[in-house]
C-alpha cells in the first residue's frame, strides 16, 4: 500500500508538469496580452513605459523561454508577483482559500444531507409519486443554468423580499457587530451561494445514489437477507446502504479540487471573495502569474483528490483493503 502510494505520487509529477505546459500555452496564445489590458485602464501609459513593463515581466522572450523561467521559480515555490498589483501571486491565492473552502464544504455537506436520503428513498420506493416528483425536480435542477438560477434567487430573496444579501461574504459594518450578529451576517451571505452551488451536484448525486441503490437491491445477498426474515428497513440499513454508499467516497474525493478551486460563475455572480473570482479576474486581466498559480494548485489538488479517494475506498471496502 505504501509503495503503491509512492508510485502514485511519482506518477503525478509529470502529469502536473504537463498540465502547466498546456495552461501556459493556452494562456499565451489567447488574444490580449497582460500589458494591453493594463493600458486599457490607464491611457496615460506611454509606449516606452509599456516596453519597460514587457521587459520587466520577460514577456518579450519566446514562449518556451518564458515557461522555463516560470518553471525554475516554481520549483522553489516562487509563483511570481501579480501583474496587476505587484503582490506575490501565492499570497493572493492563499488569502482566498478559506472563503472558497467554507462555501464548498457547506455545499458538500448540504448536498450529502439532501441527496443521500432522497436517492435512497426514491430507489426503495421506485416509481412512487415521490420518486416521480423527484425525477422532475432533479431534471430541473440539472438543466437550469447556474447563473440564471443565481440571478433569480438574488432577485426574489435579495431584491423583492429583501431577506438576504446578494453579494460578498460580510457586510461593511461586520467588524462592529456582536458575535451572534457576525455569525448571522456570515450565514445570510452564504445561504444563496451555497444553495446555488449545491443544486447541480444534488441532482447528479441523488440520481447516482438512486441507481446505485437499485443495483444493490437486485444483488443476491439481498435475497439472503430477506430470507433470514429481516424487515425491509433492516435489509436496507444493515445490508444495502453500505454497498450503495461506497462509491460516494470516490465522488467526495473527486470533489476535493473543486473544494479549493472554487466556481468561476457562482463566485463572480455573487461577488464572492474566493478563488473562483480571483481566477476569473486574473484571466480577464491576463495576470499570468496568478493564473498559473491557480492552475498548479488545481492540478495538484485534483491528483491528490484521486489518491485520497483511492485510499478511503480501500479503507472502506474490505475486498480492496485486504488485497
Amino acid at each position: 500500500m505504501f509503495q503503491y502510494l509512492i508510485k502514485r505520487l511519482l506518477y503525478s509529477i509529470p502529469i502536473i508538469i504537463g498540465i502547466t505546459v498546456i495552461t501556459f500555452a493556452v494562456m499565451y496564445f489567447t488574444p490580449g496580452k497582460p500589458v494591453d489590458t493594463m493600458m486599457d485602464f490607464n491611457p496615460n501609459i506611454t509606449s516606452e513605459a509599456k516596453d519597460r513593463l514587457v521587459k520587466l515581466y520577460g514577456l518579450d522572450k519566446p514562449v518556451h523561454e518564458q515557461y522555463w523561467n516560470w518553471f525554475k521559480r516554481v520549483i522553489v515555490l516562487d509563483f511570481g508577483n501579480s501583474f496587476k498589483d505587484g503582490r506575490p501571486a501565492s499570497e493572493k491565492i492563499i488569502e482566498r482559500i478559506p472563503a472558497t473552502i467554507l462555501l464548498n464544504i457547506l455545499s458538500i455537506i448540504l448536498m450529502l444531507i439532501v441527496a443521500v436520503p432522497v436517492g435512497i428513498y426514491s430507489a426503495v420506493r421506485k416509481y412512487s409519486l415521490f420518486d416521480r416528483i423527484l425525477t422532475v425536480i432533479v431534471f430541473i435542477c440539472f438543466s437550469a443554468p447556474v447563473f440564471w438560477v443565481a440571478l433569480m434567487l438574488m432577485i426574489v430573496f435579495g431584491l423583492w423580499l429583501g431577506w438576504l444579501p446578494i453579494s460578498g461574504l460580510t457586510s461593511f459594518d461586520f467588524n462592529e457587530l456582536s458575535f451572534f450578529a457576525k455569525t448571522w451576517d456570515l450565514a445570510s451571505h452564504l445561504i444563496l451561494p451555497v444553495i446555488v452551488s449545491t443544486l447541480g451536484s444534488f441532482a447528479v448525486l441523488s440520481r447516482y445514489i438512486r441507481s446505485g441503490m437499485l443495483d444493490v437491491l437486485k444483488q443476491d445477498y439481498i435475497k439472503t437477507a430477506y430470507s433470514k426474515g429481516l424487515s425491509e428497513r433492516q435489509v436496507i440499513f444493515n445490508h444495502a446502504l453500505k454497498n450503495a454508499l461506497l462509491p460516494l467516497i470516490t465522488i467526495i474525493g473527486l470533489s476535493i479540487p473543486g473544494l479549493i478551486g472554487g466556481s468561476f460563475i457562482i463566485e463572480t455572480v455573487f461577488s464572492y471573495p474566493g478563488m473562483g473570482r480571483l481566477g476569473f479576474d486574473a484571466i480577464m486581466a491576463r495576470d499570468y502569474p496568478v493564473i498559473m498559480g491557480i492552475g498548479v494548485i488545481s492540478a495538484f489538488l485534483t491528483l491528490l483528490g484521486n489518491i485520497v479517494a483511492d485510499i478511503l475506498y480501500a479503507v472502506a471496502d474490505p475486498r480492496i483493503r485486504y488485497r
Binding site: 445477498y221 433470514k228 453500505k242 454497498n243
Partner: protein
C-alpha cells in the same frame, strides 16, 4: 401416513421485462410431506429457482409476480399472509440456501455479523452469551473449524465450501422445519460438492428437517430423494416416488433425462 407440510396449488409465476413476459412457472401443483426429501429436477431455465423463491417470499424482490395459486404451509396460505406474519416464518420455520455461495453473502459485512443476525432477528432480546452459544452450535453443526477466524473474516477471504457451510449454518440456525436447497453445490469443486450434499442430508436426519432440494443432476436426485418432481419449461411433467419414477418413467421428457 405423514402429514402434508406444504401444499402448492396451481401456482403460476411470471417475470415481466420491458421486452417480454416470461411465464417461468405454469400452473404447478405438488405436496411435500413432513420429514421427506423432495427433489425438483430439471434443466437450467426450467423454473426451479423461481418456484423455490416463491416458497421463500422472494418473488417480488426478484422482479417476478405470482399470477395465481396458493402455497399452504400447515394449512395457511403464505400468499395471503401479511408481510410481518411471513417474516416470523422466514429463516425460522422455512429456510433456504442458494445456488451460488459466492454472491449470497454480503461482501462488506463481517461473516460473524451475518451469521449471528440470523439468530438475533428472531430473538431480539437474546443476551450476548446466548447469541454466542447459538452461533457456535450452528457452526459446529456445519463442521466449520477455525470459527474464531471465520467469524472475523469478510466473505472474499473464505473458500467456496466455507461460504456454503456458512450459508447453511445461517439457514439451520433456528431449527427450521423446512430447508430449501437450490442447487447447493453449483460453483463448488467436485470434491467439495459431495461433502456439502452429505452434510445437508446428515443435517436433515439429525435435525428432522423436511428437505426440498433442487438439482439438475439425475444421479443426485436418485441418491438423496424420497419423492421427486420433474420440471420442464415451467411445468411439472411428472412427480411421485423417486424409485418408482426411475424404474418406470411415464413422461417422455423424464425418460430423456434418465437415459442421458
Amino acid at each position: 401416513m405423514s402429514e402434508k407440510i406444504l401444499e402448492i396449488k396451481n401456482l403460476s409465476i411470471e417475470y415481466k421485462t420491458s421486452s417480454a413476459t416470461v411465464e417461468a412457472v405454469k400452473n404447478v401443483s405438488f405436496d411435500v410431506k413432513k420429514g421427506e426429501t423432495f427433489v425438483i429436477v430439471g434443466r437450467s431455465g426450467s423454473g426451479k429457482s423461481t418456484l423455490a423463491c416463491a416458497l421463500m417470499d422472494l418473488t417480488e424482490i426478484d422482479g417476478g409476480k405470482i399470477k395465481s395459486g396458493n402455497i399452504f404451509y400447515r394449512g395457511k396460505d403464505l400468499l395471503k399472509m401479511p408481510f410481518e406474519e411471513k417474516r416470523v416464518l422466514k429463516g425460522a420455520k422455512i429456510s433456504m440456501i442458494f445456488q451460488d455461495p459466492q454472491s449470497y453473502l454480503n461482501p462488506v459485512v463481517k461473516v460473524g455479523k451475518q451469521i449471528s443476525e440470523s439468530f438475533t432477528v428472531h430473538n431480539p432480546q437474546a443476551s450476548k452469551d446466548e447469541i454466542k452459544k447459538r452461533v457456535s452450535e450452528a457452526l459446529k453443526k456445519v463442521k466449520l473449524d477455525d470459527t474464531e477466524r471465520i467469524f472475523n473474516s469478510y466473505p472474499h477471504q473464505l473458500s467456496g465450501g466455507q461460504k456454503q457451510r456458512i450459508l447453511i449454518s445461517m439457514a439451520i440456525m433456528n431449527n427450521p422445519e423446512i430447508l430449501i436447497a437450490d442447487e447447493p453445490t453449483t460453483g463448488l469443486d467436485a470434491s467439495i460438492q459431495k461433502q456439502i450434499l452429505d452434510l445437508i442430508s446428515e443435517l436433515k436426519n439429525t435435525l428432522g428437517l423436511t428437505l426440498i432440494m433442487i438439482t439438475h443432476n439425475m444421479r443426485i436426485a436418485r441418491k438423496y430423494s424420497d419423492t421427486m418432481a420433474v420440471m420442464h419449461n415451467g411445468e411439472i411433467v411428472e412427480s411421485g416416488n423417486t424409485e418408482g419414477i426411475f424404474r418406470n418413467p411415464k413422461d417422455e421428457y423424464t425418460k430423456l433425462l434418465i437415459n442421458n
